[in-house]
Amino acid sequence: MLEATPKEIKTRKALRVNPCKTCEPVGALYAALGVHRCMPHSHGSQGCCSYHRTFLSRHFKEPAIATTSSFTEGASVFGGGSNLKTAVKNIFDIYNPDIIAVHTTCLSETIGDDLNSYIESIDIPEGKVVVHANTPSYAGSHIVGFGNMMSGFIKYLAEKSQAKTDQIAIFPGFVNPGDMRELKRLAKQMQVHYIMFPDTSGVLDAPNKGHYEMYPQGGTTVAEIRGLGAVKRVLALGEVTCTPPAMVLQAKCGVNFTALPLPIGIEATDQYLMELSRLVNTEVSDSLTEERGQLVDVILDAQQNFAKKTVAIYGDPDIVLGLTAFVLEMGMIPKYILTGTKSDLFSKRGEALFAKFGVSGCQALNNEDLFTLHQLIKNDGVDLMIGTTHGKYIARAEDIPLVRAGFPVLDRYVHSYMPLVGYRGAMRLLEMICNALLDRRDRDAADEDFELVM
């Protein structure tokens, strides 16, 4: 496995090997699926769209709808205006969404298609909406694309309002429907009136009822997105992902935001609840206090199994930072944390976490790939890996247990229904981490050392 990877690290200036990121539009597509009755539309040739839909379906094991402008060579030379016009008409005719969310691809960006003027010149049926976002992959990863699509919705739809409602907007970031459900459960427990944007729960975890619904029940409605301009405050969960769209909303509608880390682990969840508590002036409920106490209890009970174990965490910036904070709370050492997305903020926040918990010899790397991670591990190994499916090659090559978390997880089921966020999410993580390490101990134990009770 990965035999061609040498131990010796040579600096690379041009070559990307085994990336730990993908392209902007897939993030845009995912964000758009979190809007109710929305058809994501890929403005480019059909290959991108096919790859993006396939990819989301492989992660969620769910249909991921999206249409494409189907550029051919002609459109690539003369621009895709007429392709978009035809597409919009056909989409409303045949698939009847409430809203079409167009994102660009590297192709239409390189040509320089002006989506604003294209969309202005299209006849849009009464009551329907078309919005767009620019998502050139040569300028950012899927995380950036996710934020850009959110900003696109906001720019087109959010309405400035003097009168503020009692609602809070929650930007959950690029997380699974299971996380969004958990974030909403916590907010409900805090008696918060909220708009979650986007919200893929009820869309990418829709039930099987024996008949297919192209637009399932979930998703932020167009009316809610319009209403974002009138909310009391935005909680932008995941600084790297959600700060840019929160700033767009602030600039457009004057809504202030608080950027918080993704609520993974104890402190980040505490922070989320405290912030909600301050905003709506409610006490944290007994049941949440109980959940928190249970989490602390299990960490202490199982401490001996993971304390001081070293771990490599890789994937998307906010999720990796969240996981890093939690493993530190557990007493582990996050020796390498790595994201493919370019983000100095990531490295800065990572370093800050290392300092806060007083761990040394740890590295936080952004704009890096899994080939680098593998070489680092070859030089100085770890006890555990936490991250996306693509790390399984390294895990196998180096015989390291792997806990799957983040995007994408292509080779396991149910994960997208289950949260990483909140105390419950942390408890689930703890169980996965602990089991992975204990299974390894069982596997490696000699007969005479094989324990019944652990």
Partner: protein, 533 residues
């Protein structure tokens, strides 16, 4: 209204005008039907097609394990085609490297798009040579590269002269052609120009064959090779499952090309005929009867008593080994109906396999086939190239005197053409019964509609529609990835396929789609609401 008209009914003017020629209902057996294919998809229709790059890099070049395939472009295209197609490979020999676990990309950034990416591409290759020292590099370009005009062909020449390794550049930008199909052709051209025939081996063995259009999904190629070797064939090279550029270099030494996937590889078969005189034969190792037919055709081609005898022995052995299970699954599956919608060849191949178990195909279609894949190669002279297909280079290699070798005399060749599928392919329509509907470049709406109208017991397709179909209450299996099962080729493969099909149809959970409280009330006394009135 017949079923076809019902599907088309919802479409407005221009869409109707386009789609009506892509949807064919077979009604009078024997009357040749014409279908529109390999033409542009309509913007806004949710189609299953991929792009030229996907056909070139993803399908044809991707499985070649001992070559570094470098994607020149932004990160996504390369990332998505990394490890996602189940083209298994196990490079042989000391120090053989398997690059399939790797994704190589130039990860182009804004300045590369603005100022050109050639410099970065060259630098990436310098780094590949420093770190990996491969013996072969394939460069594949994605959409932006064509527009900004990076000369990847010049880079390939530079690689060859500087490093003295094999290198080919494929200008397979996604916007070329109308689907993956253009990419297959471009990949075929590049392999023909740069790899095939560049080896030093001599034509030696009598029963030496290449297996073309077999990508070893789920191990299909290995299963096929196992039988061929058992009978006594030498498999010189496979295009391209578990493929090796080192072996492909000597592909010209074979005596016969076996074509499994007609759509993606017929170009190489034809070009090798022109250049090396190697005949090709259409085979199909999907399905029991088809495997038998294919093996016998080969034996007839080589016309050797020993070979014929071993062929029959192997067939008998294989059949005996699966007989019980074959009977079992046949008894379980007979009478079911299926829809089969895959790329450009499988929809045909799998109909044969389904019939082995008594399953009738009622609806079928291709994503990116050409008319000949439906109607047979007989229509080739009638297909007029359009603007999109004209852009794909058409090579016309001339005979290579040093390596040209005919296996059959002209007379024998002509004689055999009446007996076996020698350099011909009759297409999918011929297999399909009256009343069945075929859809070219099927889309999401049509898929939904066809399922509603035909209610097949199982629908074979790909991942983009699998979950939509399952949510509609119809079992669905992926015929691109086999839902991570397989192999499905040849005899034991057929049993694997039947087992998986039966498993999908008979999953106990299908019975639980409707909760009991939706069919009978749980609230005592409230029925009709009379109690409290």
């Amino acid at each position: 209204m017949n079923e076809r008209e019902k599907v088309l009914d919802q479409y407005s003017g221009r869409v109707f005008k386009n789609r009506k020629d892509h949807i064919i209902e077979l009604d009078e057996a024997g009357v040749p039907q014409v279908i529109a294919a390999n033409s542009r998809s309509i913007p806004g229709l949710m189609v299953n097609r991929g792009c030229c790059y996907a056909g070139c890099k993803g399908v044809v070049l991707g499985p070649i394990a001992d070559a570094v395939v470098l994607t020149h472009g932004p990160i996504g295209c390369g990332f998505y085609s990394w490890g996602t197609r189940r083209n298994k490979a196990k490079p042989e020999g000391e120090g053989a490297k398997n690059y399939l676990q790797y994704c190589f990309s130039t990860d182009m950034q804004e300045p590369d798009i603005v100022f050109g990416g050639e410099k970065k591409l060259r630098q990436a290759i310098v780094e590949i040579m420093e770190i990996f020292q491969p013996k072969c590099i394939f460069i594949c370009s994605t959409c932006p590269v064509g527009l900004i005009g990076d000369d990847i062909q010049a880079v390939a020449r530079w690689v060859k002269s500087t490093y003295k390794i094999a290198c080919a550049a494929f200008s397979c930008e996604g916007y070329k052609g109308v689907s993956q199909s253009a990419g297959h052709h471009i990949a075929n051209n590049g392999l023909m120009k740069e790899i095939i025939g560049s080896g030093q081996a001599k034509n030696s063995k009598k029963f030496a064959v290449n297996l073309l259009g077999e990508y070893n999904i789920g191990g299909d190629g290995w299963e096929t090779e196992r039988l061929l070797k058992q009978i006594g064939y030498e498999v010189v090279s496979v295009f391209t499952g578990d493929g090796s550029f080192e072996k492909m270099k000597n592909a010209h030494t074979a005596n016969l090309n076996l074509v499994q996937c007609h759509r993606s590889i017929n170009y190489i078969a034809e070009m090798m005929k022109a250049k090396y005189g190697i005949d090709w034969i259409k085979v199909n190792f999907i399905g029991i009867d088809e495997t038998i037919r294919s093996l016998r055709s080969l034996a007839i081609y080589f016309d050797d008593a020993g070979l014929k005898q071993r062929t029959e022995e192997v067939i008998a052995d294989e059949l005996a080994a699966i007989e019980d299970q074959r009977q079992y699954y046949r008894s379980r599956l007979t009478g079911y109906t299926a829809g089969v919608f895959v790329g450009g060849s499988r929809s045909h191949h799998y109909q044969n396999l389904l019939l082995d178990f008594g399953i009738k195909t009622v609806i079928a279609g291709y994503e990116f086939a050409h008319r000949d894949d439906y109607e047979g190669r007989e229509v080739l002279p009638d297909i007029k190239p359009d603007a999109d297909s004209k852009n794909i280079e058409q090579l016309s290699p001339v005979a290579d005197e040093a390596h040209y070798h005919l296996t059959l005399s002209k007379e024998r060749f002509a004689e055999l053409q009446n007996e076996i599928d020698l350099e011909t392919y009759h297409g999918m329509f011929r297999e399909m019964a009256d009343g069945t509907v075929t859809v070219d470049d099927f889309n999401h709406y049509e898929t939904e509609k066809l399922i509603e109208l035909f209610q097949p017991d199982i629908f074979y397709s790909g991942i983009k529609d699998k979950y939509m179909i399952q949510k509609s209450g119809t079992p669905s299996r992926q015929l691109h990835s086999y839902d991570y099962s397989g192999p499905y080729a040849c005899f034991t493969g057929a049993i694997n396929f039947a087992r998986d099909t039966y498993m999908s149809i008979s999953a106990p959970a299908w019975k639980y789609l409707t909760p009991p409280w939706l069919v009978s009330s749980t609230l005592e006394g409230s029925i009709g609401g009379t109690e409290n009135a």
